[in-house]
Structure formats: structure tokens, C-alpha cells
Amino acid sequence: MIKLGVPSKGRLMEKTFQWFEKRGITLSRTGSDREYAGAVDGIDGVSLVLLSAGETPRELAAGRIHLGVTGTDLIHEKLPLWEQQVEPMAEMGFGYADLVLAVPQGWIDVDLTDDLDAAAAAFRAAHGFRLRIATKYHRLVRDFLREAGVADYALVDSQGATEGTVANETAEAIADITSSGETLRANHLKILSDGLILASQATLWRSRVAEVTDADRAVLATLLDRLGAD
């Protein structure tokens, strides 16, 4: 049996269901609204696993599901060496979100990571601690800033309402997901000109480690063919 992991709720689930529907595969939740069980119609040998988008990378990497739908950002953040564990099969054209580095609009002297580095050095000298950047994407942000040659910063963990941390003075800058940039603007933040860390969208992934029988392999090939994703 091929296990397909999809988002268990919200717009991401609806969009995923529509995307499969367009390709002749009907996904549905079964039982009550609160029960996380689902069904696949239009192809035999595939079962549905409803997951939070955040858990999908781990399930794919562990081989507990064969296919899964989740954002590029989550795969890159949660799976080191992700290329060895999963393979992107199709970009699905929704769930667009960019991971960006943003600073207060009032910082008219800061437009590039280069400026951020200089500001961080001066900030540390003036305040006695490193310039704080609030994020939940620690690995991606750290790699990006190392690549950009930014020093004298510290990441502070923020699992939600990250845009508010600057006004609350628990961080000086943020790195977060944005789709339209409206929340950033409402919080008087601006994206650095070279501050795009990752462009993400909902993507169908195949686990490279999940076990497959010969029958599974045939089902997988048919499914991917139907999805136009082989």
C-alpha cells in the first residue's frame, strides 16, 4: 500500500484536495470532522494519511509515508541533506511563501545584508549583546547569514507572532515566512534587498527511503503518471 501524506486541515488541505481532484484522484476525509481519517478514490493501492504540514518532512525521512505534501521551507529546515532523503516530484502552485530577513523601516541605513553586518557590529558595541534576530527557521537563517558573511548576531527562537518581537524589543530583526508582506508592513518592517532566504511553495515529495514492494512500485508509477509528476 502506498501511503500519501497530506495536510490535515485548513486552506492547505483544501488546495491539496483540489490539486489531486484536477488530476482525477479524489481525496476525502472520512468519518466525523474531528476524526483524522481519509480515503482515496480513483486509484487502487493508495491510502491517505492526514498530517500536520510540520510533521510531513519527518514522516518522509523515516519512510513511514511514500509521498507527502508540504512546503519547501519545512523540508529544507527540518531535513539536513534533504536531497538524500526526499525528492521533489511536483511544485503544486499554491502555498507560496518566502522566508525573508526583515528589519525596521526606520533603519534607513540598512538595505543589504552587508549593512546588517555593520549595524550588528555597532549594535553589539553599543548594547553589550549581539543583535537579535527572531525566527523559527534557525538552520536556514544561520546558513544564509554565514554565506552572507554576517557576524555579531544571535538567533532568538520565536514560534509565532514573530513580526511583533521588534516592537516588543525582544529582537532587533526577524526572519519569517511572508506571502504578501502585509504583516511586515503593518509592523513597520521592511525586507532587505538581498534578504530572500528561500522561496517556498507547496510541493509533492517522494521519500527515497520508504520501502516499496513490486506492487507498490507499479502503483506509485501509475499514480505519479496520473499526477503528471513522474
Binding site: 541533506l81 526606520g106 534607513i108 543589504l112 555593520a118 553599543a126 548594547h127 557576524a151
Partner: protein, 356 residues
Amino acid sequence: MTLARQRAHALRDSFVAAGAQAVEPPILQPADLLLDLYGEDIRARAYVTSDALRGEQMLRPDFTVPVVQMHMSNGAEPARYTYAGEVFRRQEEDPDRANEYLQVGYEVFDRTDPAAADAEVFALIADAISTLSLRAATGDIGVLMAAVDGLDTSERRKAALRRHIWRPRRFRALLDRFSGRSDVPETRAALLAGEAQTDAPLTGLRSQAEIDARIAALHADAAEPPLSGAQMDCFDALLNVRETLPFALAQMHNLCVDLPAIRPAVKRVDARAEALSARGVDVDNLEFEASFGRTSMEYYDGFVFGFYAEQRPDLPPIASGGRYDALTRRLGSGQEIPAVGAVIRPGLLVELEATP
């Protein structure tokens, strides 16, 4: 007991016999200090955990910082320390690299004769791993620092270069900018022309005064003449020095004519070469590379060295070390003591000895 552990203890015992005091810093180290010293690079490499009482702790990613701390708070001078134990490094890129491995170290705190102390550590380590034929590489971060100090430019530019000496790419970008080889970014030009404005209220801790100070600094920097082509050529020549030690010294002495500021640092390399020779090291065949050590830990600020297995380029250095006077300044709250040390990885040693 595993072979690696037996070897680690034997090496430590040999360092005790050489006059070092054996020490055993705790495995759990307060994270705030290490993070403040090294920033996010160390967090990326260290396992961080926490409890409600002591806050964030790290599984020790190396021994040097705890040994320096211990020495600065209650050590008598001069002192020599040795230790053997596990260090822990997160490995997220390469699954073949160990995330827990043994290190044996030897650290010298002695202000009488730095060149002799450098040679003592190098010779002791070289001797301890002489069962293998490894390639030794050496360098000196102090020469690069002196070259930056001697550039004919503003103190602010020198500070920026010193800060990025361990990030070669960033360092190069700064040099290009300060010498006028790269263009001023558009937004920077607009800012300098007074065209950058905003109606947004300023949020956060970074104050308007800090922003104004940076803009003033950018104006001052824009008025600064570019680094001369001649100085840049000398600087590039220095970065490219890679020879056996006598030839490297000859090249650096030649460069002293145009970069006189590096003379004291080059003289220290002279003195070290003599001290190494006196210890029986074959300096005529010892490699010296001016850029060596620039991508390793930020605390080395003088002599740096590493021993590599040439037939195994996949392996990290089997032993490595260097001088870290600046670290003792940072941790000594006002005091400092010249310090030099090195570590061996006994696990790699026994692995390589077992391969024909």
C-alpha cells in the same frame, strides 16, 4: 576500554610526564558564554540543552574555553594543562563525521618566551603522532592582523577587516570595496545623497542616534581615499605566500619593505623557526601558508598549525592547534596571558594506524 580511549589516556599520561597538570572540565558548559564568544557558528555546532535552574547549557564542543576560564580564575603562572575526553559536535552536513569523539589536549600559559612555547607545543604534538607520516601545515594569523593594522586607511576600515579575517570571502569583498574595485551599491549611494527617507515610526531597541551615527560613518568612509593599488598588491602577495618555512620567511621579509607594519610579526615567525629547529623540527621542509587557519575557530590569533593524513583528504586534521592570546583577554576580564595549545584526535590516530 576501546583502543581510542586507551590511546587518549596514554597520550594524556605522556603530557603529564612532560610537565602538564591533568584537568577535567565538566561536560556541560554554560551556553551564554560560549555563544557570546563565538555566536551562532558555535550554536550550529554544539548540542544545546537547558534546565530551569541553570538555563541554557552546551555539551562541551571543545576544552579550550573551559580550561582558559579555569586558569584565569585560579591558575598560577606559568601553567601547563592536559586533558582527555569527549567533545560533542552536531553534524548536519556530513553523516560520516562523528558527533562525539575523543580529544587529548595540551595547553601552555607562559609569558616568558612565546616562540619557545609555540615550539614546545608543536614538537610535543608532532612527537605524539610520529607513528604516522602526516603532512604538517603552519601559518600565523598575527602576520595578517599586522598587515591589516599597517594599511594606510581609516581605523574604522581596519576594524572591519580585522573583524572578518576569519571569513575570507567577506574579507575579500571589503578589500575590494575599500580599494574602489567594486561599485558602491545603489541604495548606499541614495542614502549618501540624502534620498533615503521613511515615514514609518522607528521600532525596536536600535535608536535614531545609532542610525545617525552609522550614516555619519558612511559619509566619512565615502570621503576616504581608496587603498592604493601598491598596498593591495603587497597584501595579495602576502595572502598568497605558501612555501616551505625558509622560503616563506624570505618572501615575507621582502614584503616588509612595502608593508613595514608586518616586520615585528615576521620577526616572531623567525624566532619561532629557530625555536622549532632547536626542538629538532625539520623547519627546512615545514610548510608555511599565510592564509592557513583563516577558516578555523576564531580564537587563534598567532601561530596556527594542523596535521593532515594526505591519503585521507576526507578526514579533518588529526591534530591541530595555535596561539590564542586574545581569548585570554576576553575571558580574563582585564587580565591576559599568552597562551598556546593543541588537540589530538586519538580516534583518528588509531583508525589510521590500523590501515596499512
